[in-house]
Amino acid sequence: MAVRTLTELLQGAFPGDDVSVEDRTGGGDHFQVTVTSARFDGLSLVEQHRLVYDALASPLADGTIHELRIKTKGST
């Protein structure tokens, strides 16, 4: 359930880009998200991860996400 919510949020923030969300423990609160987007090109890793955090601000704030791992990739 949460995987779907997170996936939809990321797809909304990164339309047309490659987005994956994995529930690392099966408990619905530890996630690995991977986003590949041309929006990351030329950005520092901090800036890239901030874009992902912005997209997931709501589940981060309400406790849905207990632990989040982020992998970002640019288009090149």
Binding site: L45, V46, H49, R50, Y53, A57, L60, A61, E67, L68, R69, I70, K71
Partner: protein, 120 residues
């Protein structure tokens, strides 16, 4: 501004390498804090650790200052380097050592022992 805010800001600005984590290096309470600490240790960083768990306001003030929502948070020379994923990635590529050298000088490995400071 609160005293806590000033304390956290002071640590970020004055410590060579500040690691805000859950637990302490001797007793780590979270997997991601452990990952960040180990990556910093591999790079030989002189870590000053701050445990955010004793008071929820520490985390609130920290995230308000940094604009970063999760723990751990690593700062080198006053600048946010990132959380566990970024620090691990930078360590693996050699960029973490490069950043440490740029910010702290070539002799950063001898700059100090790992230590813990308490806030609040």
């Amino acid at each position: 501004m609160s005293e806590l805010h000033d304390q956290i800001k002071g640590i970020i600005e004055t410590e060579d390498v500040a690691l805000f984590m859950k637990g302490t290096p001797q007793f780590v309470m979270c997997g991601n804090s452990h990952r960040a600490l180990e990556a910093l240790r591999r790079a030989g960083a002189p870590v000053t650790a701050v445990d955010i768990l004793p008071d929820p306001r520490i985390r609130e003030e920290l995230s308000a200052l940094s604009g970063w929502p999760t723990i751990p948070q690593v700062f080198v020379g006053g600048e946010l380097v990132g959380g566990a994923d970024i620090v691990e990635e930078l360590e693996a590529s050699g960029e973490l050592e490069q950043t440490l050298r740029e910010k702290l000088g070539d002799e950063y490995r001898g700059a100090g022992e790992e230590r813990v400071v308490a806030v609040a």
